[in-house]
Symmetry: C2
Subunit: 410 residues, 2 copies
């Protein structure tokens, strides 16, 4: 059993999370897009809190907040993100930052404990301006040209303008210091219902699944919705609907036990009520942690497109937009999290892949990385009704702090 001095303070964790929820509150969640005013205030809040954990605080030129320790001994990097999706939940991101802050407060202040937790809030994990820009910048994968080209997906504001408004224009970006950290730990809400439905407290993440994304285009013939007989139509929208239904019918027989697939966006061209759509497009995504399953499904998808084109009346093409290799989590760290769950949560943990992407997959390219999940009520995510029971938040904090202690000790 750990010394009581290294226990998380559950009430302090809840108070911090609620303080962050009050910044940019929307219904019971938050609206805190990257580089919005409430996002800026959240970063400032963290900068003011980090000294409580004996950490020097800095915001770098891409909006990452880093808290660094001058304590001797091994250092563990921990964190998550503070911005939110539009009109989304209060814990997606802040939970991992506050857990990291709490672990740093508990462990860094203990003069008998060798080592320290350093804290990071990665900017724009939610992808308002790009894909994992903050953590990718830290691991050295973002060029100045990429920042030049980035725009807010909601309102088109350039990232350069946003950085200038934040007072960050021209500031240096902080990059990983090779050898400084033994690894990276991130906590997050599960965003699914595996833990809740199994009455579990902790998910020990084994891997972060890859995301394969496709654009599927349908080409028919644009025409007048009043004068074109049904028999001669080439309705690209109807072709798209049939394709979606065919995927729903045929994918289950070819997928793996955890595969998921989603059509997130549909666009008809020209999209007017009195015009038969001559074109249609869908954004389609497949996620799995087994690339061979993805390969099988992609083959099926292309075969279905060929069949639909051959049958007519519309031509169907599949374009791959994104290939995501899964990121494997460190085996030793998984054991440390599992041991912490035994100590602090009666062993109510399960090993599971993460279906969502996280900054940890970027950190995993430069150091050992690990993640732990806490339950999501109803599995709801990316919506302001997202929530986790206070008791689960507190248990998660205790497991997190204990896992940090074990990782730094081990």
């Amino acid at each position: 059993m750990p010394d009581t001095k290294s226990l998380a303070d559950g009430q302090r964790v809840l108070a911090d999370l609620n303080a962050l929820r009050a910044i940019g509150a929307y219904e019971t969640g938050v609206h805190k897009p990257t580089f919005s005013e409430p996002h800026k205030r959240s970063l400032d809040w963290l900068v003011q809190k980090l000294p409580e954990a004996g950490l020097g605080a800095e915001i770098d030129g891409i909006g990452n907040v880093l808290g660094t320790s001058s304590k001797s001994g091994p250092k563990l990097l921990a964190g998550s993100h503070l911005e939110s999706q539009n009109y989304a939940g209060w814990l997606d991101g802040p939970l991992g930052v506050v857990y990291a802050l709490e672990a740093a407060r508990v462990l860094n202040a203990d003069p008998w404990f060798k080592g320290a937790v350093e804290v990071a809030a990665w900017c724009d994990e939610e992808g308002h301006f790009g894909s994992f820009l903050g953590s990718r910048s830290y691991v050295g994968q973002v060029t100045e040209a990429e920042i030049d080209a980035a725009r807010d997906r909601t309102n088109g504001r350039t990232m350069r303008d946003a950085l200038a408004d934040m007072g960050l224009a021209g500031r240096a970006r902080i990059a990983v210091e090779k050898g400084r950290h033994i690894g990276y730990l991130e906590a997050h809400i599960e965003q699914g219902d595996t833990l809740e439905s199994g009455k579990l407290a902790i998910g020990v993440v084994t891997s972060i699944v890859g995301i394969w994304q496709y654009r599927i285009n349908f080409v028919g013939e644009q025409n007048h919705a009043g004068t074109t007989r049904m028999a001669v139509r080439k309705d690209a929208g109807l072709a798209l609907a049939k394709f979606c239904v065919a995927i729903d019918q045929r994918f289950p027989a070819a997928c793996g036990p955890r595969t998921v697939w989603t059509t997130g966006r549909i666009t008809l061209d020209p999209g007017a009520p009195s015009i038969i759509p001559g074109g249609a497009e869908m954004l389609f995504q497949i996620r799995d942690d087994d690339p061979s399953v993805i390969a099988r499904l992609e083959d099926l998808l292309r075969m279905m497109a060929d069949e639909a084109s051959a049958k007519g009346p519309c031509a169907v093409t599949v374009t791959k937009l994104r290939t995501g290799a899964p990121a494997m989590m460190d085996a030793g760290f998984q054991e440390a999290i599992e041991a912490a769950s035994k100590a602090m949560a009666d062993g109510r943990s399960i090993r599971m892949p993460s279906g969502a992407g996280h900054d940890a997959q970027m950190l995993a390219t430069v150091m050992p990385a690990a993640m732990l999940f806490v339950p999501s009520i109803g599995g709801i995510s990316h919506h302001w009704t997202e929530n986790t029971a206070d008791a689960d938040i507190v248990t998660g904090a205790q497991v997190f702090v204990d896992a940090c202690r074990r990782m730094l000790s081990g």
Copy 2:
């Protein structure tokens, strides 16, 4: 046989149509949205042409161009519109205006012919700012408040700003003068393939079908596309796709011989690649000239929505946005057009309803109205590849002028 003096000049008609095509040309068609610069130039072109037909020209406060005659005897109003859909065809609108101009040139100049053709170009038939604003204004159905509220559907510009830019702010709107006209005649491209496939020259329009429009909403549960298992999803986009396919399967058994239906727009909420859509919406339209067929299909649509809701996992609701009664064309005028087709086009005509809406349906509320169609190559409409063979354009003009002569003669 008519006097040769009252024949249309086919080359003059083609030259006028090509002059209008050169204003706002896009590929082989035009991009001439309402109150755009090329639309303004097209109206100015007509104002300059009308005196050739002995007509006094005026643009009124909603952008209608009216050419009025001081000749004694009966007067027939004829016309169509000069603006286009975005990036659309060159004949949709201008054909009817140039035919009317040609009929006025031929008949008004003949001192032995009793009566005159007056010419109208109705503004915004294509509905950039509303629904038949120009012709509805003329028949007294548009209030100032409706103009105050109208905005360009493409760019949001207010109609008041657009009218001011056109130099029309504060100008009076011209309303129908009861008893002035014996009726209204409009020519238009068919926008379908009935004439072409039947090797016919003229469609004698019997009625303009009603348009019934619906918004169909699907409510599921917004969630994370990576973490939510397939089995527990409530994907509103998939529910919409299934509904589209079900309409395609079940409507044919319940529809009439000429019914058409179209899903012109689909929107997923929030429409992001990594979020399972919690909401989805489709704009759905049914057209027929038999209200009892529409009633039967609407019942089926609502029954299908109830079935889908009961089956789950998404709730489906149907909201009626627009109910359009069909407009009947004048029987005597139909006979006049048919007689003109016998005289000028070897009787290659057919009686048919119009599946598309036209200004004639508005004029039909205040005076006898009629329409004639010329063939559309491949039935293509509302696209810049829309076209009609020159020979068909010339034949149509000859039938149109002869029909005007017959209608005015009684």
